[in-house]
């Protein structure tokens, strides 16, 4: 069985600086979203439990050829990549179409894993869109996943309850950060990563644009930033503002 994990290359958010309210993305290192790393770890654990093969699928700029080593070092066996330098801020609908097309080229897919949201846009659409394109059952916000034969059991966490869902494979699952603690690859794993197979897919990356971004700016902060010396003074100030109803 093949386990697929879809991961998104994003700018390292810690490195983004804001100038004139605009995000500066030049020279910011690329990485994978944190929750995508949880999805990968979930894939690695399922691979170990079931003796499967783990394939990472990713769509991104040419730099992805390098970024993908992170995932190959952390336990993926091979990668299917769609590279194109025009793929900057690709819309969810286009990423989903390309990821689904890549997955169609893989035989015997048992489970397709996503993070619940990408590190940058956090829109959470791609997993659901891929499930729709492939006509598969889906379970979002998983906090645990078990595979027994050809049945997946997923416990998922909603705001007010947990649901235990069951489906026959193949299934699409998105995970939350709580599901696991991603392992840190060893030096040998990192060295081996470069030699793992990478399949470069030639797919038509042009898709219909459905969204338009009118502006994207850091919010203006208008906070008083008044320093107060004691708890007593603090409470007085808050009381005067009518904020304490005691």
């Amino acid at each position: 069985m093949n386990i697929v994990v879809a991961m998104k290359q994003i700018p390292d958010l810690q490195q983004i600086r804001i100038r004139n309210r605009k995000p500066i993305l030049d020279d910011v290192a690329l990485t994978f979203g944190n929750i995508d790393k949880n999805a990968l770890e979930a894939g690695v654990q399922l691979k170990e439990a079931t003796g499967s093969n783990l394939i990472v699928v990713s769509v991104g700029t040419e730099a992805l050829e390098d970024t993908i080593k992170e995932a190959l070092a952390a336990g993926a066996d091979e990668a299917y990549l769609v590279l194109d330098d025009e793929i900057g801020d690709m819309e969810s609908s286009s990423s989903a179409r390309l990821i689904a097309e890549a997955i169609k080229k893989i035989d015997d897919v048992g489970i397709i894993l996503f993070g619940e949201g990408s590190g940058d846009n956090y829109s959470g659409q791609v997993g659901s869109r891929v499930a729709a394109i492939l006509g598969l059952p889906q379970a979002g916000y998983a906090k645990s996943i078990n595979i027994n034969g050809n049945i997946a059991t997923v416990t998922r966490s909603l705001e007010d309850c947990e649901e235990v869902l069951e489906a026959e494979l193949p299934i699409v699952v998105s995970v939350i950060a709580d599901i696991n603690e991603p392992r840190i690859p060893s030096v040998t794993q990192i060295l081996k990563a470069g030699r793992k197979p990478k399949e470069m897919l030639e797919l038509d990356v042009t898709g219909d644009s459905m969204l338009e971004t009118i502006s994207n700016l850091a919010p203006e902060m208008q906070r008083k930033q008044i320093e107060i010396e004691t708890i007593e003074k603090l409470l007085k100030v808050l009381e005067n503002e009518g904020l304490l109803r005691r």
Binding site: G119, A131, A167, I176, L217, R223, T230, I231, L238
Partner: protein, 311 residues
């Protein structure tokens, strides 16, 4: 006449969607139609808000089967001539949004926290880059699915003229079985509803401080929230109390923030609060720049005083 369709599994959120739909529909000839699935009571309540409500009752339609739900809403939207579907951006709604958008051939935006509408154009506001920036985006495809964050809009007011129409769709299961539903262990606290939040960050060094902090929050008529590592690493609280990008976005009147450094993924959850107090022993903590009142102090030392004053 073209329509806006609204659906949420949670009645409270459906009321907010109704309000958002009224805003979009204002000065247009769009009509508003509400869908309620396997929830008689919700259908009644939506009708009491004046909504033209379509009630689908069919035990074979399982809310946990996102594929079947997307198909049910697609059929409804097509039949009722709706090009715009509003869903709630809670977890169930967000999951549904992507699937519906795909089968509906719609552009989709989720976690929308406000909207500006003009002449039928809908500009949606949402956080991107982990919350570092706020984007204004528009869906330019004919069909649109918009998932709106809880609390982004107030509930619609009661209105007369609502109707309930029983409605039938074909159920197309995708193969998901719901085996069990468990109420969440721990508390079912709603930090989004609280007008005052006392927020525990990693600067609260000892778990023994928590009872005092809970008491302070209670006496202020508020709730306790926390930064993510306090819940996920330290496990002091359940995840329902996390503020931030992967937690809740709250807009309390007052947030008293204890020992939080103020990374953007956290501040995005609280930056819409009316008044922010930061207590931190590091005067350079980024949180302080985001605060109205700053007390540079060690939490261990000021907590007893705070408890005494408010306890």
């Amino acid at each position: 006449m073209a329509a806006i369709l609204i659906y949420s599994d949670k009645t409270k959120l459906a009321f907010e969607l109704l309000n958002a739909a009224q805003l979009i529909g204002k000065n247009t000839d769009l009509t508003i139609k509400a869908v309620s699935i396997n929830n008689d009571e919700q259908a009644e309540e939506l009708a009491a808000k004046g909504a033209e409500t379509y009630k689908i009752i069919n035990p074979e339609l399982n809310l946990a089967d996102t594929g079947a739900m997307a198909s049910a809403l697609l059929q409804t939207a097509e039949k009722l001539d709706a090009d715009i579907v509003l869903l709630s951006s809670n977890r169930r709604g967000k999951e549904l949004a992507g699937r519906l958008a795909q089968v509906f051939k719609a552009g989709c935006l989720t976690d929308v926290k406000s909207m500006q509408t003009e002449n039928g154009r809908i500009e949606c506001v949402r956080n991107v880059l982990g919350g570092a920036t706020v984007a204004i985006q528009e869906i330019i495809s004919d069909k649109k699915v918009i998932a709106i964050s809880p609390k982004a809009f107030p509930a619609a007011a009661d209105e007369v003229g609502g109707t309930i129409n029983e409605y039938v769709v074909n159920i197309i299961p995708s193969g998901i079985k719901l085996i069990e539903t468990r109420a969440k262990a721990g508390d079912s606290v709603d930090i989004e509803a609280a007008e005052i939040l006392v927020v525990v960050g990693q600067g609260v060094e000892s778990q023994e401080s928590l009872p005092a902090i809970m008491e302070i929050a209670k006496n202020l008529g508020g709730e306790v929230a926390c930064s993510k590592p306090v819940a996920t690493d330290k496990k002091w609280f359940g995840e329902e109390r996390i503020l931030g990008l992967s937690g809740k976005i709250c807009k309390p009147d007052l947030a008293i923030i204890l020992g939080v450094s103020g990374q953007v993924q956290f501040t995005v959850g609280i930056r819409d609060a009316k008044t922010i107090v930061s207590i931190n022993n590091d005067e350079k903590a980024y949180m302080n720049q985001m605060a109205d009142y700053v007390l540079i102090a060690d939490i261990k030392e000021v907590l007893p005083e705070l408890q005494k004053a408010i306890g």
